[in-house]
Each structure stands twice: as C-alpha cells, then as structure tokens.
C-alpha cells in the first residue's frame, strides 16, 4: 500500500476515534442521574414546560397558553421574532376533545 492511501486511512481513523470519544463524552449513569433530578423538580413543582425562551407567554409555556396567545401581545407578534418563528401557536386540531 502506498503512502497516500495509508495517510487517507489514518486520517479517517483519527476522525472516527475522535467521534467515538465525543459520543462517549458523558456516561449513561450521569445522564440518568440528571434526568432523575429533572423529573423530581418537575414532580415537586408540577411543571409542564421547559424554559427555552422567556420572550413571551406562548414561548415560555408552549403547551399552556390560550390558543390566541401568540397574537395577543402585539398584532403579528413581530416583537417576538425570532423565537415565535420556531414555536408558533399549538396545533389546535390535536387539542379538541370529541363531544
């Protein structure tokens, strides 16, 4: 095998090793403990939403706001760009209960 081919395989191997190292950066037990802690906080305080953005009601508690919440603070809710672009109003069709 020639030098250039060996160099190619060596580079790929280094990258793969680096990737595998990164994939195992956090142990499973660490993550399990972290999730356990978060679950405890959620249960103690009865939390339903994640603090991804504090920009507006409908982005802070995305599962809780009134369906028109995105449009209540300002018409067009452009004061909440860009977080509103990602969150959007909830899918109301999923929330309707069959009478």
């Amino acid at each position: 095998m020639r030098k250039s081919t060996i160099a190619f395989f060596v580079i790929i191997c280094i990258q793969l090793c680096l990737l595998i190292g990164l994939l195992n950066m956090e142990s499973e037990s660490e993550y399990t403990n972290f999730i356990k802690t978060e679950k405890l906080i959620v249960q103690e305080y009865n939390l339903t939403d994640f603090c991804l953005s504090t920009e507006s009601r409908h982005t802070r508690h995305i599962s809780q706001p009134e369906l028109m919440a995105p449009f209540q603070d300002l018409p067009g809710f452009h004061d909440h760009f860009p977080s509103s672009s990602f969150f959007g109003p909830p899918d109301t069709s999923l929330w309707r209960q069959d009478k």
Binding site: E26, Y31, N46, S63, S83, G88, D91, W95
Partner: protein, 392 residues
Amino acid sequence: MNRILNLLDYAVKSLLRRWRKNTALVLIYTLVVAFFASVVFFTSSLKYETQAVLQDIPELWLQKITGGRLELVSESLIDSLSGIRGVKKIIPRIWGYYFDTPTGAVFTIIGSDLLIDGLLVANVTSTSSVTEKLDSTMALCGTGFLETHLLETGQRLTLIDAEGKLRGFSIVGAFTAKSDLLTRDLIILSKSSARKILGLPEDKVTDIGIAVWNDDEVDNIGRKIDRKFHGIRVVTRAQLLSTYETLFSYRGGIFIYGAIISLFAFLILAWDRAAGLSREDKKELGILKGIGWQINDVLWMKFWEGIVISLNATLLGIIIAWLHVFVWHAPLLKPFLIGWSVMYPEYQLHPVVDSGSILMVFLLSVIPYLTATIIPAWRGAVTDPAEVMQNG
C-alpha cells in the same frame, strides 16, 4: 483488492494535485454538514430531554377559557372532579408571571409549600434552614433572578404584590445552573405568598392537574370532564408531549429551518459539481481512456475521489457540530430559539444522539455528493478519448 487500492491511491494523488481547490471544497462541504448536524444534535438532545422528563407528569391538565383567554379556575371544581371515577389525584396549581420592573425581565412565580426536603435530593444548593415546609417568608430561585439581581442564597429578595406593596423574602435555596432548562426563570414562594404576589383570590387556582389510575382511560376521562364542565379545555399529557415532539422533530419548528438552509446550500454545491466537468477534467479522462483505462476504472476512481472528500467532510462536520452543540453550547443556534428577551436561558445540552440521526447525516451528505460526482464522470468517460484530446 490490489486494483481497488491502486485506484484509491490514484484518486488521492489526483486530489492532492489540485489541493487548493479540493481543500476549499472540503471546507465548504464541512461547514454545510456541520450546520445541518448541529440542528440534528440540538433538536435530538432537547427532544429526548423533554420526552424523558415530562413522561411522569399528571395525565390531564384542565384550564378555564373565557372568550378565548385563560381564566382562573374555581377551587370548587376540585370536589366535582374528584368524584369522577378513575381520578387518582387532583393537583391544583398556583402560578403566574411577574414583570420585574428594575430589570424588565418576566419571571414565573410558582406557589408550593412542601419542597425543601425534596430539593436537597434534587441537587439544589440550600442554606442551613432546612425544613419540610416553605413558609411565607421564604423563597427559592432559579439562576435567572439571582444573576439579574446579583443575589446569592441567604440574601433577601423583594417583590411587589398585586396591591403595590413591597414584600421581602429570604432566599433559602437556589437551583443549580444544571437545571436551567426547567428552572431558569422560576421563583418558588409559599402558596399564600404566591397568591398575594399574583393577586389570586383565595378560592381560585391557575389550573388543575389530574392524575388518573389507568393510562388507557386518560382519553375517556378527558372527554367525560370536557362534556361535564363548560368553558374549560382539557389537555392530555400525550398532547402536551406531542407539542414538544412537533417542535423538535421533522414535522416542524427549528429542525425544518435548519434542514432547509443546509439542503439549499448542499444542493448548490452538488449542482456545481453535477453541472459538468472542467476542460482539465475532460482532458484527464480522455488521456486515461487513451492509455487503456476502462469506463468502470474511471468510475471507480471518481467514486474514490468522492469518498475521500465526502467522508472527510462529513466526519469533520459531525465533529464540529458535536463540539458546537455540546461543548460550546450551540452559540449559533440557541439565539434563534431564545429570542430577544431580557433574560436568556443558559441551558446546557446533554449529548444524547441516536445512531439513526448520525446515519441520516451520513446518508444526506455522502450519497448526494457521490451521485453528483459520478454522473458527470460517467458522461465524460463514455465520450471518445480522441475527440476529447483534440478539442482539449
């Protein structure tokens, strides 16, 4: 095997001959893959965390709606709800928003009494005043309030209640930054204090959580409650989880934005490759055919060229994306989700990515590029070598 290795060797040397052009190509390719993989890792991590953490919350959530707006729920409803067969526990919640005039930030106030004992288990720093009850002079804070007010555990915080009076609380505990994704903007007060700050009458609560005995009965009980009481909305846990699933999955939200931008960038790159071979490339193919190379040799050589470039760019892109999201905390993606608020959640993401996501990045990166490389090579390889060399 020897033939394949020789072709690989030729492909590597051929790439090294035009190293400037190919380095630039790998660099752009890497950045495109890194952006796309960052979005995949970012959304995967948040999706796993939200689904894992929220899976044990009460199965039903009841809210009162008047004229399309959320209203306070009367406490008398609790008795009526507890009479419904299959209901295990009724959990009335007291919570609301607090606009903090000095900083301009909005905090979430939660009313809860029995907390500190549990919190110590929850890796939360606390002072020596460990009790099982949070009394009306105590408060627990997320890192947001402490940082914006330059406070520490043990110091006092002052809030203005609904009547405009100043109320002081002693900070008996604070959440660690690890739980920022849940607790960044929280201020936990006793129920009576939370009522005063939020202006909630004694006979009202913000909303109600309902735990049920049998998971299979959740929809039935939800429908029953919906039929029995008017002007309410019942949200099931499954619906709540699907809101997050939608936000972070292929169906919408941030993933789609990231994917569209990356795919456009990649299409431009692939189109540039597929648009045709340069004069030099055609000449090279003509000479190779002239000295006896077969069409499949040329295709193999081009395949190896594509593999060398795409494999390197994809692996490098994934490594950069990993570092970007899990080591540097996604500085290029997080601002879009956080928005332009006063208080920015500084949550850290945990490296949880399934092999399917990595495979998807590989498939979307390597296969289109190989296709875009081999098709023009095949077109060049089937042309007459004499014609190519004469025109070249």
